[in-house]
């Protein structure tokens, strides 16, 4: 059974943390098509979290076509998923980002500057890549 975590000091809203954990697990292949997510009641009991928050996360995952809720049975991972990224690739991307962040801090950038730089480069790159693939 899939286990959720909750980091209340991360600043990320709890429902979004749950959404991201499922997205990441699917991406890494830890969750596979047909797998059942824990029942809302089970998540509530294990994390002492508000059931409305869990329901909101599951709704969002359904809207993103990542999972399907079957009343009375549970919520299941869909089989029309994008190909999972191999964990090694994911780890290497993560490592690259860490290296970059360390360089940015060493260069004296603060969190605001890093966030600003990231969002501007992200925006530019995304626009260019989309134009290329179009």
């Amino acid at each position: 059974m899939f286990h959720f975590r909750l980091d209340t000091s991360s600043g990320v809203p709890p429902y979004l943390q749950l959404v991201q954990q499922v997205q990441q697990a699917v991406l890494l292949g830890f969750l596979q098509p047909g797998d059942r997510l824990p029942l809302i009641r089970e998540v509530v009991e294990s994390l002492a979290i508000n059931p409305n928050t869990v329901a909101k996360a599951y709704r969002q995952l359904e809207q993103g076509d990542l999972v399907t809720g079957r009343p009375g049975h549970g919520t299941f991972v869909n089989d029309t998923l994008p190909a999972a990224v191999p964990p090694a690739t994911y780890t290497s991307l993560r490592h690259g980002l860490q290296t970059w962040l360390r360089r940015a801090y060493a260069a004296g950038l603060d969190d605001h500057a890093i966030a600003a730089l990231f969002s501007s480069v992200h925006h530019q790159t995304k626009t260019k890549t989309k134009r290329k693939t179009a």
């Binding site: 909750l6 209340t8 000091s9 600043g11 809203p13 709890p14 429902y15 809302i40 009641r41 509530v44 009991e45 994390l47 002492a48 979290i49 508000n50 059931p51 409305n52 928050t53 909101k56 605001h112 966030a115 600003a116």
Partner: protein
């Protein structure tokens, strides 16, 4: 169709002798939600909670729980409301079994089985005297009694303030489990803003007897932004959307509502955390003249 609010107050004021403990309080709690009531000591939290359950009558304005006044003393209205006072008071000489029997004889609805099962699961003996239980266990007994009524609105006054971290978590598990079982709206007061996001989805902030912020937590966070930019000399506080302004030597930080507002060049918009948001609203000076029930001089 909009669901009927679990709790609705309209322009409620409560005066003790000369002083208004609560003034012009208008709010609605949506059903099925878990709401936190936050504010400094003396802000009027306990007064608002006691008004909600019918233990106090408003001096002005009206209080409705699922459309009915809780002070009419109708059995139907009161059987839908559960209340857990501060420090979860229990009859100390009673055994847990005595307390359950007492609860059953005093309520039209009382799920004795549910309470006994839950307490047994937690390892609390029904033969134990209430006074001999630990603080965490006493809070669980009090919560089990309140939930056994199967209330539709459960109001708790600082239920976790005296509990150690493990007992807090167990208390939250029981409470959230009850919400998951359905048909339950929760309102509780708390000082622990940092742990509210885990258990609450709705927030009411009061200060100096007035509601200063209220709404769905995710929506409130989405509506607010911290704008950081070069120091501004003008005072933008006149604008209703600016909640707080802070200046450093070269830059200014503005907390604004309506995050979608146009951002000046050179400015960064950052999301704001719940604790930061609550504190900013509590630091805001309250316009004490604004209440409509001010006594003529």
């Amino acid at each position: 169709m909009r669901a009927q609010p679990a709790l609705r107050t309209r322009n409620v004021g409560k005066r003790y002798r000369e002083a208004w403990a609560l003034r012009d309080c208008t709010l609605e709690l949506p059903p099925g939600r878990v709401s936190a009531l936050v504010g400094p000591n003396g802000a009027g939290k306990t007064t608002l909670l006691r008004l909600s359950v019918g233990l106090l009558t408003p001096t002005v304005g009206s209080v409705e729980v699922f459309g009915e006044s809780p002070t009419t003393n109708s059995v139907r209205a009161l059987s839908r409301i559960g209340f857990l006072a501060q420090d979860h008071p229990l009859y100390r000489q009673f055994t847990v079994a005595d307390l359950l029997r007492f609860g059953r004889s005093c309520n039209v609805r009382f799920d004795h089985e549910l309470a006994a099962r839950r307490l047994t699961q937690l390892g609390i003996s029904l033969d134990a005297r209430a006074g001999a239980l630990s603080g965490g266990q006493q809070s669980q007994v009090a919560l089990a009694l309140a939930l056994a009524k199967r209330p539709n609105l459960l109001v708790l006054d600082e239920p976790m303030s005296s509990l150690d971290p493990l007992a807090r978590q167990e208390f939250q598990q029981t409470l959230m489990g009850a919400v998951a079982d359905g048909e339950l709206t929760v309102l509780f007061s708390s000082h622990a803003v940092h742990e509210l996001e885990r258990v609450c989805d709705h927030l009411v902030v009061i200060n100096h007897g007035q509601v200063v912020l209220s709404g769905d937590i995710d929506s409130l966070l989405a509506e607010h932004r911290l704008l950081v930019g070069p120091r501004i000399e003008t005072d933008p506080r006149g604008s209703r959307s600016v909640v707080e302004v802070k200046h450093s030597d070269r830059h200014s930080t503005l907390l604004v509502r309506q995050g979608a507002a146009a951002i000046m060049p050179g400015w960064q918009a950052n999301p704001v955390g719940l604790e930061e948001l609550v504190l900013a609203y509590l630091r805001r000076p309250v316009d004490l003249e604004a209440g409509s029930h001010k006594e003529p001089a």
